[in-house]
Amino acid sequence: MAASTRSQVISLYKIMLKESSRFPSYNYRTYALRRVRDAFRANREVEDPKAVERLMDEGEQMLALIQRQVSIGKMYEAQRTVVDAP
């Protein structure tokens, strides 16, 4: 398997941010966005290819988790609160 390139990391970041912003619930949405941003920023300096590979795999799993939770959240949507967009 080829080592994760810079562009793959960038696309994963973009896809995760897009998916996180689809959460219906304000709390989950803001937490997911903040967590994705912080995690990618914290691991910015990692150079070892194996560590990068491992982090990318973890990111893919987190992306799948976010997608599942977004679907569940959309199925059982609660009443809109004041902070949600109209």
Binding site: K14, L17, K18, S21, R22, P86
Partner: protein
């Protein structure tokens, strides 16, 4: 992201409606020629996508033409659409979105300031900026082209290319 697009189209729709209401206050004679020109321009596009409705429209216009109603306003067809993009409005919107981003200092922001060299952002911030532009203008920017956009000027040029805005 879908909600942002809905918010954006809601805002734009509200602005268009306001413009329509204001323009209806003026004499309708001025409004009509513009809409006839619009109708002529849009009619070919309408035929391509929906031939049935164009046939219905031509039948309707023929009926209206024969009956000659005194009020000129009824002969005009109004189409709902966003206000046309110009280079100036694109530039204003791009700079507005960039000023809202908290990692950018609004005083230092120029049209030609490079994100990485002048403003000290990194590639992750650039991704977030491009996503904000996608939300603002309502169309997807592929990753391959997104990573090349490094100044507000380039973003304006790219959007003008994609939206066929001529200078």
């Amino acid at each position: 992201m879908i909600k942002n697009i809905q918010m954006f189209s809601y805002n734009m729709a509200a602005r268009v409606l306001q413009q329509c209401v204001r323009s209806l206050g003026r004499p309708s004679l001025r409004l009509c020629p513009v809409n006839l020109a619009l109708r002529a321009a849009v009619a070919p596009a309408v035929t391509v996508h929906r031939p049935f409705s164009f046939a219905a429209d031509s039948r309707r216009t023929r009926w209206l033409g024969q009956s000659r109603i005194s009020s000129v306003g009824l002969l005009c067809r109004q189409y709902g659409d966003l206000p046309p993009l110009t280079l100036e409005t694109i530039k204003d919107r791009v700079l507005y979105v960039l000023k809202l981003y908290d990692k950018i200092n609004p005083e230092k922001l120029q049209v030609t300031s490079h994100f990485m060299k002048d403003l000290g952002l990194d590639s992750l911030d650039q991704v977030e900026i491009i996503m904000a532009m996608e939300d603002e203008f309502g169309f997807e920017i592929p990753d391959a082209e997104a990573e090349k956009l490094m100044t507000p000027e380039e973003i304006v040029q790219y959007i003008a290319d994609k939206k066929d805005v001529y200078e």
